[in-house]
């Protein structure tokens, strides 16, 4: 509620002027202030109860032992490495490492491919082509979860997948060359199905912001294409591309449904581990580990969003 009382020079509604008048008036002003704020109360109460409370619960329970005392044990458990002294532990740390690796791979590769596609769109002279690619990206970026997993099982399952059969016919069955749809690279391949369109969607506006005047100026000064990209295009676009990659990182890091449905919960990444604990597969004495895992995930995502916002601010200096 503090937000309601901070003076804001930009606001010019009658509600605002009522409030500024009211600050001198004591009790009457308070009543008026409450009245002005009242209609948003149901929304706030709902958000606090259903979103706020669970989030606070995660943060508190992450530092709580099973007997209810403050502890760092949960954090220790999820960060502990698998060593000789700790032969039964380390699976959560491994889960984080796999999750981070998966998120980085499915941010960087689709990030680069998406940028190339967006560049191809931006230089295309056919408006219909541009519109089709933009619309398709919008649709495909929303694909995911169980449906996408089943589609890829039909495509690349061992022996029976359509593409497995095609490649098998020319002697290149990927399953004979170390590929498994249900392991790291298989999951990464499926994630890219929604990550590439997502990248195209968020990076296309940056290319549109690249002004033709800069290209003309560079050419007028005798720069080659390469030098234009080396000294103008790429530096101007880099914050936008990096920022978008952080967004992709977040989307790959938090995905649960696709990996669960694809691997039947066998891949050890953090979201799957949390799901397993919630469904009752808990080692005795580690019930609160789920909170620590969830807490760590939220922290990592908040950091990546902050980086994204900062990079976006940097981007808007030149583009958009």
């Amino acid at each position: 509620m503090t937000v309601l009382t901070t003076p804001d020079s930009a606001a010019s509604s009658d509600a605002a002027s009522q409030e500024t008048k009211g600050t001198k008036g004591g009790a009457g002003a308070l009543v008026r202030k409450i009245r002005t704020g009242a209609p948003v109360v149901p929304f706030l109460v709902y958000v606090i109860l259903v979103l706020g409370v669970p989030t606070v619960v995660i943060a508190l329970y992450a530092f709580k032992s099973n007997s209810g005392q403050f502890t760092l044990q949960n954090i220790h458990t999820i960060l502990a490495a698998h060593t000789k002294q700790n032969p039964t532990g380390g699976q959560y740390r491994a889960g984080f490492e796999n999750s981070l690796k998966l998120a980085v791979v499915t941010a960087v590769v689709p990030g680069i491919l998406g940028t190339i596609i967006a560049y191809a769109i931006s230089t295309s002279e056919h408006p219909a082509f541009k519109r089709i690619v933009a619309a398709t990206s919008g649709v495909l970026a929303q694909f995911g979860g169980v449906n996408l997993a089943f589609m890829f099982i039909a495509t690349l399952a061992a022996t029976n997948g359509l593409v497995t059969k095609w490649l098998g016919a020319i002697g290149l069955d990927p399953w004979n060359h170390g590929f498994s749809l249900y392991k790291f690279w298989g999951v990464a391949l499926v994630y890219m199905y929604f990550q590439i369109p997502l990248m195209v969607l968020i990076i296309t506006p940056a290319f549109a912001g690249l002004r033709p005047a800069w290209r003309e100026a560079a050419e007028g000064l005798g720069a080659s294409r390469w030098r234009f990209w080396r000294h103008v295009g790429i530096p101007v676009l880099t914050p936008a591309i990096l920022g978008s990659m952080f967004l992709l990182f977040g989307s790959g890091f938090s995905a649960y449904a696709t990996a669960e449905a694809l691997t039947g919960g066998t891949i050890s990444i953090t979201p799957i581990q949390i799901g397993a604990i919630l469904q009752g597969n808990v080692i005795a004495g580690e019930q609160n580990v789920a909170y620590a895992l969830a807490f760590a995930m939220i922290v990592i995502l908040l950091v990546s969003v902050v980086v994204y916002v900062l990079l976006r601010r940097r981007t808007s200096r030149w583009l958009l």
């Binding site: 929304f43 619960v57 995660i58 649709v139 169980v146 449905a261 949390i274 969830a294």
Partner: protein, 284 residues
Amino acid sequence: MASLELGQDIADPLRIDAPYEADAPLNKHRRRFRWGRGAILIITAAYFVVPFYAGMEYSLQRPTGGFSLTPLSQIGSAPGFVSALWLSTQLAVITMLVVMALMVPTVIYVHLRLPRFRRVMEVITIFPIIIPPIAYSVGVLEAAPQWLRNSQYLLAIVYVILAMPYVYRSLDSGLGALDVKTLVEASRSLGSSWLMTIWRVLVPNLRAALMSASVLTLALVFGEFTIANVDNWQTIPVWIYLAPTDNPRINTLVAMIALLATAVVLILIVSLDRSQSRNSRRSR
């Protein structure tokens, strides 16, 4: 223009030749790049089209070869499908009613009387997107009281939060395209109550925004897997994943239908948006 022609009249040989020389390698470059671009686009298109075809083929192919639509008629009799569909439908309706009842009056009021609160709403409605559903479900399952914990309607309560970002954004942009103040003042000065103003004046004007908000909510509820799965309720996505059918192709078929439905819904929303912005431009 005149000055340019004059300049060329000076007949500087360097100037005349320069564009010619610059053009030739540029063209060659362009042509080579076109090939590269074509190859990239074809490979990408294959990556996106082939799995879709594979899913369709797998679910609709007859054992004897060729396609048939009979699997479509078997969906209804697949064990558990109807109850999963019923559960998802109930959840979608409840979620939609609650999120609209909560958001429509609030967003309208904030637009009219409390513009400073818009920032707060923007920030609040970003969190459901940032917090991963799997992490969020950990907190929800602990924080919910036991009686709610045992109810499938807990999912609807949670889906309202997940739908908020989309509903807020479409309502906010819908209201931004209207002259809300004038509409409300006109309606109020003609003697109608606040509720009447919202219901008879603003809602009809926000039809497109409300439409896209509800369609997005619908798609969200029918597609949400994470929280339903860890809370052990068989909604449609959970059914696709877990249902033991004697014919596994049925699950893939339902998954493909769901993907197609997602595509149709999104295209619908885009065209709704477009027609809305066209209408508002015409009315100005």
